[in-house]
Symmetry: C2
C-alpha cells in the first residue's frame, strides 16, 4: 500500500472545474498516506478515559457528518445527544438486558469468551450520541429509494462514518453500541415515531490506541482476506 | 469551522498506547483542514470522463474499504467488479426500467424536472462495482447483531464510505446507483443467495468537480440545517 498514487496528470487533463465555484483542494501524497493511516486507526473504542471533551467538539463532528452524501439529498440524519444521567441509566439498563440475552445464546467456551469481552463503554464515555434516520422525511421527495428504501438509513451510516473518521483524526474514539433494543431506545429518548435508531455512539478520549480491532485482539474473530470478484 | 482543533495536550495526558504495536500517527492541523475539505468535496458523481483508471486502483480502494470496522468484526462486504459488457448492459437495462417507473410516479413539473436530472453514469463510468453484504456470514458469530441485524449491512455501508473518500482523495469520483432492483442485480451477477445488494457503484474520473450536490444544483432539494437535539 505504499506506492499507490494514481496518475494525477491523467486526472488533470481529463477534468474541468464546474463553471463557477471554488477550486478543489490538492490532496497530495502526504495526505493520502495519512488518510490510509486514519482508516487503519479508526477502530471501535470501548475503553474511554475520564478526560472531558470540549463542548464544541460534538457540534463540529455533527456538522462534518452532515456533509455526507445522501440518497436523493434527503439528509435524513437526526442526532440526539443524551446528557441526562437518568436517561443514560435507562439506556445502560437496556444494554445490560440485551447483552445478558446475547450471552445466554452462546455455549460453553464461547460464552466464557463473550462474557470477558468489553462490548461497550457506556458508563465511561463522556458523550452519548443517538443517531436516527427519519424514515418519513419528505426531503429528497423519495428520489432514489423507490426500489431500495434501505438507502435512506444507509445515508445515515455514511454520515456516521464521516463522524467517526473526523473524531479519530482529532484523537477522539467512537464506539458503536448495537446491543440495544432500537424501539426501546427510541421510547426512552421520546423521539418522533418515524425516527429509526441507526446507531448509539459513545464518544470520548480512548484509554489506549490499538491498530487491531478489540475482537481480533481478544480472539473472537480474525481478519479475513478481502473479497473482490470479477464478472 | 476554522478554529476547531481539540486540546491535544489533554489527549496526550489521558491516553497510553496499547502495550505492544506501532505508535499512532499524528494528525496535524493541516491534515484536519484537508480532511474537512475531503468531506465537503466527496460528492456523488454521475458525469464521468472517458479517461481510463489505473488497473491497480480498484484493488487498492477495496483494500481500504475493508479496513472499516464491522459489527462483531464480521467483515461482511463482498465486492464484484462488473467488467463484462453484456452484464453491464443488463444492469443498465434494469436501471432504465426502474428509472422509468420512478419518473412515472411524479407529476407535472416534478416529473419534468426529474426527467432532466442525470441520476447515473453507468454508460460512461470505466468501473462498475457491485457491493454486497453476506447476510449469512458466520464471521463474528452473530456478535452485536441479535437486536439490530441491520448493522451487518450498515457495516458494508461504512466500508463504502471509506472507499468513496479514498477515491475522491485520489481524484476519482464515485456514484452510488440505487435506482435498481436489488434482486435482479444479484441474479444478473449470479452471486450466492445470501448476498444482499447494498450498493452499485460507478467509479471513474469526473468530468467536472463541484462542491454542491447535483440535486442541489439542479433545484431538486436544498441543503437542510443540521439537527442536533439534546436530552
Amino acid at each position: 500500500m505504499k506506492n499507490r498514487l494514481l496518475p494525477r496528470d491523467a486526472l488533470i487533463c481529463a477534468m474541468t472545474r464546474g463553471a463557477e465555484g471554488p477550486e478543489p483542494p490538492r490532496f497530495d501524497a502526504d495526505f493520502l498516506n495519512l488518510l490510509d493511516e486514519l482508516f487503519r486507526w479508526r477502530r471501535d473504542v470501548r475503553r474511554f478515559s475520564a478526560a472531558p471533551v470540549d463542548g464544541a467538539a460534538l457540534d463540529e463532528l455533527v456538522a462534518l457528518a452532515a456533509l455526507a452524501p445522501s440518497v436523493g439529498h434527503s439528509q435524513p440524519w437526526r442526532f440526539v445527544a443524551v446528557e441526562s444521567e437518568a436517561l443514560r441509566k435507562e439506556v445502560i439498563a437496556d444494554f445490560e438486558r440485551c447483552n445478558a440475552a446475547a450471552l445466554a445464546s452462546y455455549e460453553s467456551e464461547m460464552a466464557a469468551l463473550y462474557a470477558r469481552l468489553k462490548l461497550a463503554g457506556l458508563r465511561e464515555a463522556p458523550i452519548h450520541l443517538a443517531v436516527f434516520c427519519d424514515i418519513e422525511t419528505q426531503a429528497g421527495r423519495g428520489l432514489g429509494r423507490a426500489t431500495m428504501p434501505e438507502t435512506l438509513c444507509y445515508s445515515v451510516v455514511g454520515a456516521i462514518q464521516n463522524l467517526a473518521l473526523a473524531a479519530r483524526a482529532r484523537g477522539l474514539g467512537v464506539g458503536w453500541v448495537s446491543i440495544l433494543d432500537p424501539l426501546k431506545i427510541a421510547a426512552i429518548l421520546d423521539v418522533p415515531g418515524a425516527w429509526r435508531l441507526v446507531a448509539y455512539l459513545c464518544i470520548g478520549y480512548p484509554q489506549e490506541e490499538h491498530l487491531d480491532p478489540e475482537l481480533e485482539r481478544h480472539g473472537w474473530q480474525a481478519r479475513l482476506p478481502g473479497i473482490l470478484q470479477r464478472r
